[in-house]
Symmetry: C2
Subunit: 648 residues, 2 copies
């Protein structure tokens, strides 16, 4: 018995009196993955006694794909990974359909890369981790074993095929991951992951050539720097044969980078890309570059502009094994942001979408916040015009954009992980839905949020729980938004922790995150008359965003300064909208608790207890948000709530 739970994975081993026979696979290619596929099916499948399930290779299928012929009990698969995903699909359907599984497929993953980014530190802590300590690291050592194997099973079961195991802020011991200290342990870890088709990536310290190489600079145009990295990567890939490549956070929040030497981001990325190219390695370069020493007095500089400004000029300059990883919005994983204009802007550059399931700013796995609807909105965003024929984010980051060139396989989706050493892996039980959902969505972005939620619930909880939990999940993002930050303005969180309200917490600070509230109104003017951010979208979107009457109302305060007395589409004034939504959000959490309590005899007592306890914390959090935001705006505006509810 392990100390951890297996979430949505099948829990009971059937009396397996059937056989599983792979056909057509050759030994050299992913034998361990095929073994896992066979073993999972054999251990958890449920088929008539003496039947034989054939897993047959079909080279006509695209990579990682599969199909199931229910009448012939035949799973066809492009390759071992396809077989594994097919097996997990089959096991899911067996549970959900409660018996014989009708045919499905062919199922082809939309995104070549479906990644998790872990922000785990080698001391075992996790930056913005809300589910316990790291299961990859402890006291500077690399862990391996059953927990890692179950981790690989969990993430593979939803189609994830790559993981970055260490924090993008690479410091201390983690700089030495590319040294003899850790090669053997990394190779062992890589093998465990690879047996479930999960490829190991690492975050890289861009200044490693200085910190461990002893060079005086990290200038990407310096020949000694280039030579050091080439030699280092020769060594790294010799010692960790299946390594996929590296994720790099450079020139960001105090991390060193090419800007230090007057070089472009492309020069920095390409230097590393050349070094890993001989080994099939890729460099994933984060676009989270902005000035974190901003002066709050300065109303022209806009952090929202930074990603685009720093990267758009290098479009087309990147090596074919470089991918730019772009956060969904221009700020930082807020509950509501416009989609980053870089997706539409970059035409000749490999790109990946970065989302965050860690809920750093969206409740920290305490507050229920099912994020798949947010991710769906991002994927569905038409980059040129709302009703355009042109490329959506989903098309672009899956390599299917018409107006966007991508090198084959060099694109996809990454999520900042919400996993840790807690028994349930994600702290809050309902936060598992984001892990599950991210994997499923990155494999098949056409799935609806509701479909995914139902699937996860069906696999994880007794059937009766769905009627309660499904609406809680489906409303959770809207509820969280209601009691927190109004109309896209963002932030208002406690500095440092990022949990709980502090309306002015960042208002006079250096982080570029301001709401500019005064006694008359609130919001940031990002039109041409203001910071000019809206122009990064091109003409059609710019006109929409710049017109307060056409701007999507949920983003109104992101793009406009609005008076408290201005009317919204509902006919309410802004101030009344703020009051109402905050009271509504709080009431909705109260209602969720009432609903959840009907499940006290339905759910496992441990699971129920954990969910209930988190909801209590969410309710307290919602109370603080509601009262602080309302009181803040009441004290500033002096305008009383139309309904006379308590404001302090």
């Amino acid at each position: 018995m392990s100390d951890w739970e297996l979430c949505w994975l099948p829990r009971e081993n059937a009396q397996a009196e059937f056989t599983v026979r792979p056909e057509g696979f050759d030994e050299s290619d992913g034998a361990a993955v095929l073994t896992s596929a066979v073993s999972e099916l054999k251990s958890f499948g449920s088929f008539p006694a003496d039947s034989c399930i054939v897993i047959q290779r079909d080279t006509k299928l695209p990579p990682e794909s599969y199909a199931w012929d229910g009448s012939r009990m035949l799973l066809t698969a492009s390759d071992p990974r396809g077989a594994l995903y097919g097996v997990f699909h089959l096991l899911r359907e067996q549970k959900l359909q409660n018996g014989a599984v009708t045919s499905f497929g062919p199922c082809v993953p939309a995104n070549p890369l479906r990644m998790l980014n872990h922000w785990d530190n080698m001391d075992g802590s996790i930056e913005r981790g809300y589910a316990g300590r790291s299961f990859f690291f402890e006291n500077g050592r690399i862990l391996n074993g059953d927990r890692i194997r179950d981790y690989a099973r969990l993430v593979a079961s939803v189609g994830i095929n790559a993981v970055v195991i260490n924090n993008v802020n690479v410091r201390g011991d983690a700089t030495w991951l590319i040294s003899d200290r850790y090669y053997d342990d990394l190779t062992a870890l890589s093998d465990t992951l690879a047996s479930y088709g999960v490829r190991l990536f690492m975050s890289l310290n861009y200044a490693a050539c200085m910190d461990i190489g002893g060079l005086p600079v990290a200038d990407p145009e310096d020949e000694a720097v280039q030579a050091w990295w080439k030699e280092k990567m020769r060594e790294v890939f010799a010692r960790i044969p299946n390594l996929g490549g590296f994720l790099v956070k450079a020139d960001s929040e105090g991390r060193p980078g090419p800007f230090t030497y007057g070089r472009t981001q492309a020069q920095g990325a390409n230097m590393l890309a050349e070094a890993v190219r001989p080994y099939g390695g890729i460099i994933i370069w984060r676009c989270f570059v902005y000035n974190c020493q901003q002066d709050w007095r300065d109303r022209k500089t806009d952090r929202a502009c930074a990603g685009y400004d720093n990267f758009i000029g290098t479009d087309g300059d990147y090596a074919d094994n470089v991918i730019l990883q772009i956060k969904n919005g221009p700020m930082d994983f807020q509950i509501r942001e416009p989609v980053s204009p870089l997706f539409g802007g970059l035409k000749k550059t490999n790109t990946m979408l970065e989302v965050q399931i860690a809920q750093e700013y969206t409740g920290q796995q305490i507050d229920v916040c099912y994020l798949i609807p947010l991710f769906k909105e991002v994927l569905a965003f038409h980059t040129t015009a709302p009703d355009g024929e042109d490329d959506t984010v989903a098309q672009i980051i899956s390599g299917k954009g018409k107006a966007h060139q991508t090198n084959p396989g060099m694109c996809g989706m990454a999520a900042v992980s919400n996993m840790g050493n807690d028994a349930n892996w994600t702290g809050g039980d309902l936060a598992q839905a984001n892990l599950y959902g991210f994997g499923r969505l990155s494999f098949d972005p056409s799935l609806s949020s509701e479909y995914i939620a139902k699937e996860w619930l069906g696999l994880t909880y007794p059937k009766e729980a769905e009627t309660v939990l499904l609406p809680i999940l489906m409303h959770s993002r809207e509820v969280y938004e209601k009691y927190t930050v109004p109309l896209g303005i963002g932030w208002m969180v406690r500095p440092e922790t990022h949990y709980g309200p502090s309306v002015d917490g960042y208002e006079y600070d250096r982080w570029g995150t301001y709401h500019r509230a005064d006694l008359k109104g609130v919001g940031v003017d990002r039109t041409a008359a203001g910071t000019g951010y809206a122009a990064q979208y091109g003409k059609v979107w710019q006109e929409i965003f710049e017109d307060p009457g056409r701007c999507p109302e949920e983003l109104l305060l992101f793009f406009h300064r609005v008076l408290y007395t201005d009317r919204l589409q509902s006919g309410k004034t802004l101030i009344q909208h703020i009051y109402d939504t905050h009271f509504e959000g709080y009431a909705a959490v109260e209602e969720s608790i009432r609903q959840i309590e009907t499940l006290s005899d339905v759910l496992d007592p441990v699971v129920y207890g954990r969910i209930r306890e988190r909801l209590d914390r969410q309710l307290r959090n919602a109370r603080e948000w509601c009262d602080q935001v309302n009181s803040y705006f009441f004290r500033k505006s002096g305008i009383a709530d139309g309904q006379g509810r308590p404001i302090y």
Copy 2:
């Protein structure tokens, strides 16, 4: 050569061709202190060749006292400690008078206890420490040696006679200071300190009987608890013979205490006092007890009331070897607070004044803030009426109050230390003035702030520096107040660090520290119509504080809610006063820098560089305070600055 500096101590050893002869002291009593006195005089004194300085015991003098007869070159002293203080006095005057020292004395210390409280942790960190790491502790070990010896010399030279070496928040290793682990090292440390007349005290974990004693409770009425402490103290005083006693923070900010068991603070203190009584030990019990889980919505509960409310009912209940240690104000070492009403209120209880030279909320030894004027105000406070004949705080805490009973010797002053392992001991060089000044003032509260500052400057810097540094010191508190928190309202600092502004940083938090600003005005109503705090002072003061026209204006917002458009005594509106003082405070720091720059060739370059660098940081801090406070109130009030200066 040591790695640290010796501040105001004499720097050069004279060619000592004179002799020093003690007379009338017996060997048993403080021989080490007398040896130190002789050695200091011999090493650093300057007298004619072949002369003989006699240090003669005079049992008619009160304890720790001395007098100098310049014509006879005779130092008379009550005891070895008196001799040591006399020697340091003589050495000071030799430097200041540059030669032969005229007669002085008899000099008698006003306060029996003149203490430093170090908030040092055993890992070597210092809570609210701004001058480097601890010199008492490192990695759970106790340090000793030359640095401690020079520490003892430094503090003894200004008359300090007792120190608490560890943080009042006693956790982890520090709980075990009263165990065999540390007895030998503590005794050695105690001996080093004692050789300069400095008595060792420690902070105690009130729950030690549970944490190391294994008892299930810490109830002071529990016989097993009482027995454990008696046995423990028998052991402690047997192993550390010269230990003075203990400082206790109980029932405060998460520390355990008697309230946990429904007992009074007196019951808790007395239980410990009985245990240390047989060994002449004393218990110093802090009055910093308040609810740190307050609801910001609640406008009736007032943290300012807590100290008085929690202790006044136990007046007279304390054992004669218990001292209540009371912070100067009812809140927590803000730049401006009224004097704690407990001083006047407690009539039959030994009390000590606690001040803080660590500058936690007053610039953290970066910003210049000479605190002696603040301490003088507190000492001069007449506790019943401003023009009363009745007891001042100085009288009460020195045991000379007419209406306040004190057991002999059971009173005095304590300062939270500003010292650490930095070369100059106090981080900012000018922060030394607070250490020096606290010692001198606690010995002789009649000295003026200016006298003390001049004395320190004369001992520490070249004579030409005085004309620049003296006014900077003398104005520094007013300057700091101007650019930070207006009219006694307090706080507005960044939570956690307590440095730099965050106007709403504590406004919606649980710490009981609110300014209640809205679009009309700011301030807390502490009259009978509000929280009722003013009534804790008795009738005369209550009437003064409750009348906005008579309330000392520098405390106006502490006691009253005031509209931005209300006029102050200056004729200015409150809002204009806020704007003006903030711009003035910033300008004064600029001017300080201009002034200091004239000393670039006068001061030692290292010292000059450090002072200059701190002033640059102070200027940046003042800029942030000025702009954030002004912008905050401008955004709330909408009232423009009358002089049109930049507000954001």
